[in-house]
């Protein structure tokens, strides 16, 4: 399954990197990727977001029910980690409530199609399946065309109360969240962009206004794909063999995001982008 994945992130302006509460993870061998956004109102939300993405990329579930069934083990890990800390009095009420995060995880599998030309053979194709809770989004693009947006499809669907997965939430409550699962078919050259809400909102708003956000993001990726994981942006949080951006300037993602923030088009929030080049 020849593909390249690139992860970028930047903390909310005014916050330090330690206060960043999104998370992303990838497992190229298994074709599994995930992004989560810890809810700022809850505590230890960054830890919960990290457990969710790592649990997904190292797990096997790619449909809603098996994924929900995998959550209690992660909830126990969160509880054990938090319980082990010597917490001050003011942390107790929010620890009892648990942490919350939005989540999007997807899995890619080879799904060859019959060769469209003359003669026998197959052409490469990929099947993706995604699980989502809340407003972390997946966009499937081909060139400048947006083929699929999931789970949100319009910029006016974003608000301050997205659906969330909680570290103390029961399975039934998670099951009741809407739009848990989707799938699609991709071909070589397609892109899958997964991102947390601020950037996802910007992408859809740009797209609706006739702009081409996909090309802007494309410029963050290295011009010629190299095998293995690439990396871009100062704040890359997936291991990068080179330790710096593969897209030229190591801080181009940071500069791009700061520019969007300056122009008032991007809400000041933690930003995470995971790009897959099929």
């Amino acid at each position: 399954m020849p593909m390249n994945s690139y992860a970028f992130w930047l903390a909310r302006r005014g916050n330090s990197s330690a206060e960043y509460e999104d998370a992303s993870a990838g497992n190229d061998a298994a074709g599994r990727y995930a992004v989560a956004d810890g809810a700022t109102e809850s505590c230890f939300a960054g830890l919960w977001a990290r457990l969710l993405v790592e649990g997904f990329v190292n797990g096997a579930a790619c449909e809603a029910e098996p994924w929900i069934a995998s959550l209690p083990a992660l909830q126990e890990q969160w509880d054990a980690d938090v319980r082990g800390r010597n917490l001050p009095w003011y942390a107790e009420p929010s620890v009892k409530q648990g942490a919350f995060a939005t989540f999007l995880g997807f899995m890619l599998t080879d799904s060859p199609l019959p060769y469209s030309g003359e003669g026998p053979g197959v052409r490469a194709s990929y099947h993706w399946q995604a699980i989502a809770v809340g407003d972390t989004c997946l966009f499937h693009t081909r060139g400048t065309a947006l083929l699929r947006a999931f789970p949100l499809e319009y910029s006016n669907q974003f608000d301050n109360a997205p659906k969330l997965v909680g570290s103390r939430m029961f399975a039934q409550d998670i099951r009741n969240r809407q739009k848990l699962w989707a799938d699609g078919q991709g071909q070589p050259g397609d892109r899958l962009w997964t991102m947390t809400d601020a950037l996802a909102h910007w992408c859809l708003a740009e797209h609706e206004a006739g702009g081409n956000p996909w090309s802007e993001m494309e410029s963050l990726l290295p011009p010629s794909p190299v095998p293995g994981r690439g990396a871009g942006g100062e704040g890359v949080n997936l291991p990068s063999p080179s330790g710096r951006g593969a897209g030229g300037e190591g801080n181009s993602f940071t500069q791009w995001i700061e520019g969007l923030r300056d122009s008032g088009r991007l809400r000041n929030d933690d930003v995470t982008l995971l790009a897959i080049r099929l």
Binding site: R12, G14, E19, T40, C43, F44, P88, N160, N268
Partner: protein, 280 residues
Amino acid sequence: MSYTAEISRNNPTCFLFLVDQSGSMAEQFGGEAGRSKAQGVADAINRLLQTLVLRCAKGEYILDRYYIGVIGYGSEIRWGFPIEALAENVLQPVSAIGGNPLRIEERVKRMDDGAGGLIEQRIKFPVWFEPIAQGKTPMCAAFQAAHGLITDFVGQYPSCFPPIVINISDGAANDGHPGPMSDAIRSIASQDGNVLLLNAHVSARGERPILFPTHDGFLPDDFSKLLFYMSSPLPPAMLHQARILEATVEEGARGFAFNADLASVIMFLNIGTRVDNSAS
């Protein structure tokens, strides 16, 4: 528009409590047997401080969206909390308040068990402020002290949500007429509006509490009326919030409470803490 500034670490606001600690605060509180006005006010302030800290708590950390101070007035002017770690400045960042209670008490709270009964739960109740009831009522001197602190704060954070000064008293000032000094406090302004001066009259009288009145008609004595006229009219956002909590609040209401019971005092003090809910 005024009173709309985001309250964040970069642009904090300030709460300053002026607390009457005169001898008469030892009297019974609002018809509650066995409990002094001083104890009632101390409980109310401790609970409010707890609420303010929890609003800024983020796991193990506290985001400094507020500066909080107290000035007691009775036998002397007492600057700040009686806690060594908080002694250096009257106005302390909320993280310093949260990290340095005088002690943490365990109290029992009765809660709905969801099946029509009550269950008892042990909760932590941090204490910063103890009841004191000694001496006279130098309210003018307390206002003078507040004026200086608030002027400095607004100088440091000129675009802050306007500081909120909360004066809690049971009797008349005996160091002059507090009107001019309270006018001076209310006239201090950030770019987001004038300082809000709220007054709570805690009384031994058992009459029904009055919260955010629009006129002085139902107020029982001249001192209540004086405190009412010294109080800021509620700005639109606070008026809206007050109406959610208390449907009878009308346009033109002032930030004044008479004989408010403990719950109303807290409700009253909680107004005006609109906060940017993100981690800034």
